[in-house]
Amino acid sequence: MTIYAALGALEQGLVYGIMVIGVYLTFRILDFPDLTVDGSLPLGASISAVAITSGMNPYLSLIFALLGGFIAGTVTAILNTKFKILHLLASILTMIALYSINIRIMGGPNIALLGADTVFDPIIALGVAPHLASVLVFALFAVLVMASVIWFLKTEFGQAVLATGDNPQMIISQGVNTHLIIIVGVGLSNGLVALSGALVAQNQGAADVGMGIGTIIAGLASVIVGETVFGSNSIARAIIAAVLGSVVYRLAIALALGLEFGGFAFSPSDLNLITALLVITALITPKIKARLIAR
């Protein structure tokens, strides 16, 4: 792997790491498998791209992307809590609806950001090389998001979020409206995913309605890789592990794409298959292990 490929993987790992924290919030903390993310990632990208092309400050556009993602998440959570639609189905419905919404926002299936201002400009203006500037900006955002989420989970409200995923009956008996917790939690998760999508779009110079496909699977893979490699025995550690897991995952993908067996090489379109196999392996190994030990 060249140094550029490694830098590229690091950059991707950090920016998608923000998305992975979002997936961690729903999948692990709230025990709410949420596929909305496949729609809220391009939602964030669309909002930010449209805002920038109409002259908004790129940093300010991130706030709108975050808000858009938050609202998308609350829709899924409200469908689930108030209308008793199964969480998976509720999230698929929102995801599908977002496909149309994203095209409406962009006025087409994609939008280019060529020559437009991005969040990297101020850093590049300081004299940092462009390919390092994106790594720097993404690292900054990843650290900021990690710190905020760790702080949030240590507040009274955050502890109620943790308890809701752990033992809903207990926390209801302690006077917590778990519906509200799930709505805010899934909202926050999708807000982070949308923020990640907005940053990705600014980096690759375009927002595309198809850029969210496989987000949930990449997120899960990163969460699982992070837990396996870096452990999860405290909240702070688990959150940091999620981002590091994302980096390791992107490095592994870059490595796999560079492999060649005789005439065969992986193409980028094989990525979803590889990731799905990785997640399946991670999900079934504990069960197979338990069965072997039981014998």
Partner: protein, 264 residues
């Protein structure tokens, strides 16, 4: 004063499995009453406690706690006034959180949870003191996650958590039934201590007639969603297990008589 007025609750209403779990049940609970609740399986004991806690909304009737009509309050809102300990020791605590995290959650029962730190200065010391009163050595394990504790330890912790903030009424739903006899005895002693110390209004479901007589100042027996026996004061102190069993068989006999009438 807690007033249940003509409460009715059906389960699976309109289906072949329809069950009338509470049948026009009325009950007045005075402040400081410690009521033991007995009855055969399906008599409506747990349904009565769940109705009070707000696990479901009644089909008919009303519930008032201290003149506040709580009939349509959701469960989480009633938790401000009501604390519960369940039969399953796993239900009362969060397994992946530590002992102190669980206690901090319970200390905020019914309060608004904001963005302040989850534990405040001095709370840890308070938790340690409270835990030392139950004599299980948990005061030195504040940072251990609750999933590591035994069922008995978890139930003791749940008892303590239920009363960190004084509830207007404490609901104990066969809270010792899943424990071994020795641990069950300890939890029962702890229950008596906490209830009398804070003079809590309490409802305790039990299958043990001796406990039902020995504990509390009032005893009610449920059958088919109705209260068929309600004794308190002196009448309760002179009550014997035989009396209760006779009462039990009398209602069951009536049931048999009804069945045989139907069959002949």
């Amino acid at each position: 004063m807690i007033v249940l007025d003509r409460c009715t609750k059906y389960f699976h209403r309109g289906s072949v499995n329809e069950v009338l779990a509470l049948n026009d049940l009325s009950l007045e609970i005075k402040d400081g009453d410690f009521i033991t609740v007995i009855g055969s399986n399906g008599a409506g004991k747990s349904t009565l406690l769940n109705a009070l806690a707000g696990s479901f909304i009644l089909d008919n009737g009303s519930i008032a706690i201290h003149d506040q009509n709580v009939t349509n309050w959701p469960e989480y809102r009633r938790a401000k006034l009501i604390a519960r300990v369940f039969q399953d020791p796993l239900l009362g605590t969060c397994p992946s959180a530590t002992i102190e995290q669980n206690m901090a959650l319970a200390l905020r029962r019914g309060k608004t949870r904001g963005l302040g730190n989850w534990i405040k200065a001095g709370e840890r010391e308070r938790f340690r003191e409270d835990l030392s009163t139950i004599g299980l050595g948990l005061e030195d394990r504040l940072q251990d996650s609750v999933g590591l504790l035994s069922g008995g330890q978890r139930q003791a912790l749940t008892m303590l958590m239920a009363t960190l903030v004084r509830p207007e009424v404490l609901l104990l739903d066969e809270h010792i039934a899943a424990l071994d006899p020795k641990t069950a005895g300890q939890i029962l002693m702890l229950t008596r201590e906490i209830v009398s110390e804070q003079s809590l209004t309490t409802l305790m479901i039990t299958h043990n007639m001796k406990h039902a007589i020995e504990f509390g100042n009032r005893l009610i027996m449920l059958h088919q969603g109705r209260i068929i026996l309600d004794v308190d004061g002196d009448a309760k102190t002179t009550l014997t297990v035989d009396d209760l069993l006779q009462q039990f068989y009398r209602v069951q006999g009536e049931e048999l008589a009804n069945d045989s009438m139907l069959l002949t």
